[in-house]
């Protein structure tokens, strides 16, 4: 990769400042166009018929009545989509198999969860589409279902997929299983390490499926013309992902599909796959009209991907003076109806903050008759951190050592051999712990019924592929074009990096997100990678332009390009050639037509040198001793951002991750009835925190620059959701004396635990 390094100590003009975000005004004025805002002439409405059973064979589907209805333009079932062979995708955030993806988009042969799509219609109004759904006759043969990971492993459990044999076990199983795979990772000898320990804690944890809680339900408009070309407007975390997935699922070439990204109203990992898009294209092809599909909130809950429910068994041990010696974890993650939970990432990350002599984590990916899970911010890590960080808290307590001090004593640092492979490069684990320890919050007095908890978190962050082009207008302003939907303020950060490179005012930089036909391939917005990786592409593209600007100046001056440097927004002759006034970006742009034509630069890269992220959270709770209600009364997040390009958006990520993690800890859970129907598919009973539930979440940005990024960036979006669950649970323990090993810490559960301790 071409990117040269920037002097990390350099004083910056824009990096680290807080200009107004370029997308801000449109968003607060309601002008921003989200997925559901798009409309086309002649557009009709698509709706999905969903399975009322958690597990059923589809005997037959009779669509004739629906098709005959006035106003109905198309009805599709799985028969209208090609059969897809089993093949692993390399595009999305987690492992995806195209055949499974196809079957998740629309059920073929079997419906595997309540809410699974079985047919779709397009009609002139959504009311007619709704009536048409009711006219479709599906004959089901209801099968026994299995809803919990434990039950799915029982010898007599109903099997979801006859061709699913547990991967990663020897010898290769001969009977199909709901356990899709086993993975393990570790270093040293875990059992020997545990044997050396003076204190060993063994605990079993359970967590429920939780939702990302993005505000905007999935929405799409698609057209498929007679020429076989499709255009798709959709809100997602990656329009190249949509293009690739739709092409695969519909048997099209990627060049036949153009995907235009809408503004995105939140994703958090939940929009890293497709649900409606292939159906909308297929309906449009059949109807000969543009088709719009928008999920209801209920559909989002019933049929899109939450984070896995989990069961984790953990043993960890340390010496009496607090040295961690051994750890062993068994992690079972529910994948929903198709394999692909993020248990692999959990196995890799859970011990990362610690230098443990011997550790081993075994992960099991388990299918159940519930909707297929999707990525959710640091996929897999928060549940694993819940286990590890609460047990670390308990070990610290046993040793009589302050919990941050205990973590410092055992912290992984530069050169530590990680359990997941590489030796850590420059990381900010220690710096983050020290900043937390020094923060006034950590030593502030507590009131009655209050307690304080701390927890650490780790996330790798992603690199992957990104592209950018940078265009110079003839008035010397800049357009930065990238292919990543902006879910966290990345347009602002990309514009600032460009302004820094050129040495011009950030207001002169217009950051745009272009469709799949305009900019080079870019992996999706996920893995906290955009400011890091797409930022690198933007910097490279800027440097490409700067090289051309120097060449143009050299030709204007008639000197060698090597004698021209770029600084402070202008080309300058380095040899002090007398009388050569610097040529600004604008000067050169004005003369572009006569010096070789328009100036633009581009870069496409696979970003290497990802900067891993650590965070420490401090949480104070107050627990009502008579009702079990937990109130978070003070919360501080401390995080290594590498370098905060736009600190407000780094803080926003830290606060947002903390808020989501607190919700996960306290009240959020998918509740199913015995038939596998979700009982709380709405924000009334799926209880995310509301604004008044949370205190101001304080932020401390630690900056240990990532040496391989031109501006030192580490991803910041995901690690803030890793520590909150254990920080809250440890605080509840400090306040009440009870250690709760099952989420959520809803008032009934907390009260029952306190009562059990009191009696």
């Amino acid at each position: 990769m071409a990117t040269a390094e920037v002097d990390q100590q350099k004083k910056f003009k824009w990096i680290g400042t807080r200009p107004v975000r370029p997308d801000g005004l449109d968003k607060v004025r309601g002008r921003a166009n989200y997925g559901a805002d798009h409309a086309l002439p002649g557009m009709i409405w698509g709706k999905v018929l969903r399975s009322p059973h958690a597990h059923a064979r589809i005997v037959s589907i009779d669509t004739s009545k629906a098709e005959a209805m006035e106003g109905v333009h198309a009805v599709i079932t799985a028969a209208d989509l090609p059969e897809i062979l089993s093949e692993e995708s390399k595009i999305g955030e987690g492992p995806t198999n195209f055949r499974d993806l196809s079957h998740n988009v629309i059920a073929r042969e079997k419906a595997l969860y309540h809410g699974h799509a079985v047919a779709a219609v397009a009609a002139t109004t959504s009311a007619i589409a709704q009536q048409a759904l009711e006219a479709i006759q599906v004959e089901y043969e209801v099968l026994p279902h299995v809803l919990e990971g434990d039950d799915a492993q029982a010898p007599d459990a109903p099997i979801l997929h006859d061709d699913l044999f547990t991967k990663g076990v020897e010898p290769r199983p001969t009977r199909p299983s709901n356990v899709a795979s086993r993975t393990e990772m570790g270093r040293g000898d875990a059992e020997a390490g545990l044997a050396k320990a003076d204190h060993v804690i063994t605990r079993s944890f359970r967590t429920k499926a939780v939702h990302q809680g993005y505000i905007e339900p999935h929405a799409v408009v698609a057209t498929l013309g007679e020429d076989g070309r499709a255009t798709v407007w959709a809100s997602s975390q990656g329009h190249f992902m949509i293009r690739a997935y739709c092409a695969k699922l519909l048997g099209m070439d990627q060049s036949q599909i153009k995907v235009i990204p809408a503004e995105i109203g939140g994703g958090f990992g939940g929009k890293t796959t497709v649900y409606l898009e292939p159906l909308a294209i297929a309906l449009s092809g059949k109807a000969g009209r543009p088709v719009k599909m928008v999920m209801s909130r209920e559909e989002v809950f019933r049929a899109t991907g939450p984070a896995s429910a989990t069961r984790i068994e953990l043993r960890m041990g340390c010496t009496k003076d607090g040295k961690l010696t051994g750890a062993h974890a068994r992690l079972e993650y529910e994948a929903g109806a198709f394999p692909g939970s993020p248990v692999g990432a959990a196995v890799m990350t859970l011990f990362a903050p610690y230098d443990i002599d011997g550790c081993l984590a075994e992960g099991y990916d388990i299918v159940v008759n519930k909707c297929k899970v999707a990525a959710y911010r640091a996929p897999g890590a928060p549940m694993a951190a819940y286990a590890v960080e609460t047990v670390v808290d308990e070990l610290a307590e046993k040793c009589g050592i302050d919990p941050i001090e205990f973590r410092l004593q055992n912290a992984s640092r530069e050169g530590t051999q990680s359990a997941f492979g590489p030796k850590f490069k420059r990381i900010g684990n220690i710096e983050t712990l020290e900043a937390a320890k020094a923060h006034p919050h950590y030593s502030a007095p507590l009131g009655p019924n209050q307690g304080r908890g701390v927890a650490s978190g780790f996330w790798f962050n992603g690199g992957m592929q990104s592209s950018a082009t940078v265009q110079v207008a003839d008035d010397g302003t800049i357009c930065v074009v990238s292919g990543n939907p902006d879910i966290g303020g990345s347009r602002a950060s990309l514009a600032m990096m460009a302004a820094e490179e050129f040495g011009i005012d950030v207001k002169l930089v217009d950051p745009q997100i272009a469709d799949t036909s305009v900019v080079g391939f870019s992996d999706l917005t996920g893995g906290s990678r955009v400011t890091f990786a797409t930022g690198m592409a933007v910097v490279d593209a800027c440097r490409d332009v700067i090289r051309q600007l120097r060449e143009r100046a050299a030709s204007i001056w008639g000197i060698e390009v090597d004698a021209v440097k770029w600084s402070d927004g202008a080309a300058r002759a380095t040899n002090g050639d007398a009388g050569l006034e610097p040529l600004s970006l604008r000067d050169i742009a004005l003369k572009a037509a006569r010096t070789g034509g328009p100036i633009s630069g581009r870069a496409s890269l696979t970003a290497r040198g990802v900067g891993m992220a650590f965070a420490v959270h401090i949480c104070d709770v107050e627990v009502d001793p008579e009702t079990g209600k937990v109130d978070v009364v003070r919360y501080t997040t401390v995080q290594d951002a590498g370098r905060a390009i736009h600190p407000s958006y780094v803080e926003g990520q830290m606060q947002g991750g903390a808020a989501q993690g607190i919700g996960w800890a306290l009240n959020e859970e998918y509740i199913y009835d015995a038939d596998g129907k979700m009982e709380n598919p709405g924000f009334l009973d799926y209880r995310m925190p509301v604004a008044s539930d949370l205190p101001m979440i304080d932020t401390v940005i630690v900056e240990v620059p990532n040496p391989t990024h031109p501006y030192g960036v580490r991803g910041v979006g995901e690690v803030p959701i890793v520590p909150p669950i254990p920080a809250v649970v440890n605080a509840v323990h400090a306040a009440t004396g009870v250690r709760i090993t099952e989420l959520p810490l809803s008032p009934p559960r907390v009260l029952a635990a306190m009562d059990a301790r009191r009696n």
Binding site: D685, P689, V690, S692, P747
Partner: protein, 298 residues
């Protein structure tokens, strides 16, 4: 949501006629914060909506000659809070009504709608029961007065017959406490929700008390929400308070009586055990607040 017919009559009589003519196909529309949401969810699609907010009796609050209050059934929560005399006399009712929804909902949601929606968890209902409120029901056969605790008969069901509507709520007079030696009164409502707002009560408890000049409780009423198929009036809890100064033993006894009276179900919002236990806790706490409001030694 279907394109329903809409009428906005100016009198109770017209409303009764419209309701009668529609013969069950019409629904009264007050703030619409329950009704419109239910229509959007496809739970109901009435042929006619009768907006009652333009009927003077339903849209006004007044102090009655006996010193009590008459609250129009369609008055919204925000308007209750702006009525200083009502807030002074019945802070518990106003705080219960004010818990409903958010600021936006408060501009619409009414006591009549909260009651007639028939939810066992309706927040204002236990407070109204504790207050000893009655409601005036108008219908084809004239008007009748019914105690609030007798209106909801099952979840989503009321004692209202076709053609009937709730016109207003009547609150009894309160000792005004102007004289330090006279009797005083206070009421309070508390609910348990896992969040701080925008949630449905897992348990709600309303308590209203009257104290004599010596601080002894001479009258008490207790209402509970979300612990049975309908909101409950719990006389045993009230009896535990009457004749006491609300010392710890009396409060504990009232709490136990409330827990014992609760007949909740296990559901996604809470367990039987939890609801029974917390019914006692909230009754005790609400009684203490009511006591403090009555100027007792809480």
């Amino acid at each position: 949501m279907n394109g329903s017919g809409y009428e906005a009559p100016r009198t109770v009589e017209e409303t009764v006629t419209l309701l009668q003519q529609a013969n069950g196909a019409a629904r009264v529309l007050a703030g619409g914060t329950d009704l419109l949401a239910q229509m959007k969810m496809g739970m109901t699609s009435p042929a006619l909506l009768i907006d009652v907010k333009k009927i003077p009796e339903l849209a006004s609050i007044e102090q009655t000659a006996d010193g009590g209050f008459r609250i129009g059934a369609a008055v919204c929560g925000a308007a209750l809070a702006e009525h200083a005399a009502l807030v002074a006399a019945w802070p518990g009712i106003v705080e219960a009504a004010r818990l409903i929804g958010s600021e936006q909902i408060q501009g619409r949601a009414s006591l009549g709608g909260n009651l007639c929606n028939g939810s066992p968890a309706a927040d204002s209902v236990p407070a109204l029961i504790a207050a000893g409120a009655t409601c005036t029901i108008a219908g084809p056969g004239g008007t009748r007065s019914v105690a609030v605790e007798d209106v909801i008969t099952a979840p989503g069901k009321t004692c209202l017959a076709t053609g009937e509507l709730v016109v207003d709520f009547r609150l009894p007079p309160r000792p005004d406490g102007s004289d330090a030696r006279a009797a005083k009164a206070g009421d309070a409502y508390l609910r348990m929700i896992p969040r701080s707002e925008m949630d449905i009560a897992i348990v709600g408890a309303g308590v209203s008390l009257t104290l004599d000049e010596a601080g002894v409780c001479t009258a008490a009423r207790v209402g509970l929400g979300a612990v049975a198929a309908t909101p409950l009036r719990v006389d045993a809890a009230a009896a535990a308070l009457i004749g006491t100064t609300l010392d710890d033993a009396a409060l504990a006894a009232a709490g136990e009586a409330a827990s014992a009276a609760a007949r909740p179900i296990d559901d996604k919002r809470g367990t039987i055990a939890y609801r029974k236990q917390v019914a006692g806790v909230l009754t005790r706490r609400a009684a203490k607040i009511a006591l403090a409001r009555a100027g007792g030694n809480g």
